[in-house]
């Protein structure tokens, strides 16, 4: 009489057990890795209508962030500069450049440039640049080495966990307010002394309660 179950069926329980462990483990690992904002958001680099390069203007020409993003210290929004700011120089420098044509159009017609937004929090989360700059958090901490970027790329996940990691312990991320826009600042020696001094001069108290960021 033929056997109903061939011998390899003996291995079935083992295979099922293995699959039962492996498949969920893979699924968890996959979600952990691929669904995290470190995967979905970081690295977003849209092509802009004008190939404006921070590497050239900040890294090489040495412009300060506030020359263009002038409202970063006084407002919650760090403005993207109006066309006029570009024309300050580009009415004379590279005035015939092909790639700057949209800027010249915008300047002569008064229609705003349509830059593509890179960093965007969901509309229910409220962020303010003013407080962070005044507390001595450098642009580089959240935006990365902008002065080395030809096209702006998102470097931080901008997730709630990321905000809270710093809000629970802001001290190591602080620097003197005068160095906020300095991309190359490195903490001096004796970091402990420096932190203690910063804390004494200007204590900060970042919100960790929900209403701090969700209104």
């Amino acid at each position: 009489m033929a056997q109903i179950f061939p011998p390899w069926w003996n291995k079935l329980p083992l295979a099922a057990a293995l699959a039962g462990v492996l498949v969920p483990a893979l699924a968890v690992a996959g979600v952990w890795y691929f669904f995290s904002p470190w995967y979905t958001d970081v690295g977003y680099r849209p092509a802009q209508p004008v190939p404006y390069s921070h590497k050239l203007h900040v890294g090489e020409l040495g412009l300060d962030c506030r020359y263009c993003h002038a409202s970063v210290e006084i407002s919650s929004v760090a403005n993207v500069p109006p066309t006029q700011t570009c024309m300050n120089c580009h009415q004379v420098v590279k005035r015939d450049s092909e790639v700057l044509a949209p800027i010249r159009d915008s300047a002569s017609s008064g229609r705003p440039m349509r830059w593509i937004r890179v960093h965007e929090l969901p509309d229910y989360a409220y962020f303010t640049h003013r407080s962070h700059v005044a507390a001595g958090i450098g642009c580089v901490t959240c935006h990365g080495r902008v002065d080395e970027m030809v096209t702006v790329t998102q470097m931080a996940p901008l997730s709630m966990g990321w905000c809270l990691d710093c809000h629970r312990n802001p001290a190591p991320h602080r620097r003197p307010v005068s160095e906020v826009t300095n991309m190359k600042w490195t903490p001096p020696r004796h970091p402990q002394l420096r932190l203690a001094q910063l804390e004494r001069e200007r204590p900060v108290n970042p919100p960790t309660d929900c209403s701090g960021c969700h209104r």
Partner: protein, 227 residues
């Protein structure tokens, strides 16, 4: 006995799908981030500097209606806001107390907004000169000494020739701070180069050092205010 290689191959194929099509964390992409649960990410409200399909110029940020003044926005103090006194003449000196704090502020703002073109010492050897060969005015010339503080303020605010207007990015108090700092630059240069045509046309702003003492010893940083 074919099964095991098949299964192993399956796993390898599954993983290489990610390895080939997807990419590791932090790789760059021009596709907008995907949020699995878009819950209330995009609400029907207007955020700063966003596009609008409602207004004719395509921008959500509106200009004030012509002829209207915002609360607290009436600029009655013309000397402070325009550099011109009530009689329409440029004011001779800075209309706010100029002290060390103002000079310090002026230095910082000058570095951000003027240094790119006029360079750190005010000689006009900045970006435009280096890259575009544009003659940028130096602050160390007879003409500049003769300008009153109000006139420099006005040039800074409204531009002049190739000199762009800086009314937008720099608030009036900071513009006055920059004037104070430029006067400081001129004084420094004159002190170091005795042969320069001093005498008749020395930089104005005589009150610069007079009121310096008054505020010199106030604490530099304000404590966190609003909490």
């Amino acid at each position: 006995m074919m099964r095991r290689p098949v299964r192993v191959l399956g796993v390898i194929a599954f993983m290489s799908v990610f390895a080939l099509t997807g990419c590791a964390r932090g790789c760059t992409s021009s596709r907008p981030p995907i949020h699995l649960n878009p819950s209330m990410d995009n609400q029907p409200k207007a955020r700063a500097q966003s596009a609008s399909t409602f207004f004719y110029d395509g921008s959500t940020m509106r200009q004030p209606v012509p002829g209207t003044v915002a609360m607290g926005g009436l600029k009655e103090d013309t000397a402070f806001f325009t550099g011109k006194g009530a009689d329409g003449q440029f004011v001779a000196t800075i209309p706010i107390a100029s002290d060390d704090a103002l000079l310090e502020r002026g230095k910082q703002r000058y570095t951000i907004y003027c240094q790119p073109c006029h360079d750190a010492r005010g000689d006009g050897k900045g970006i435009l000169f280096q890259r575009g060969n544009v003659p940028t005015a130096t602050f160390h010339q007879e003409k500049m000494f003769k300008y009153t503080d109000g006139q420099i303020f006005d040039i800074m605010s409204n531009g002049s020739g190739l000199m762009p207007a800086y009314k937008w990015p720099i608030p009036p108090a900071d513009r006055w701070a920059i004037v104070a700092y430029i006067r400081g630059l001129q004084r420094d240069r004159q002190a170091r180069v005795p042969s320069a045509p001093a005498g008749a046309a020395t930089p104005t702003s005589a009150n610069a050092s007079a009121s310096a003492k008054a505020t010199a010893d106030k604490p530099a940083a304000k404590p966190a205010g609003n909490r």
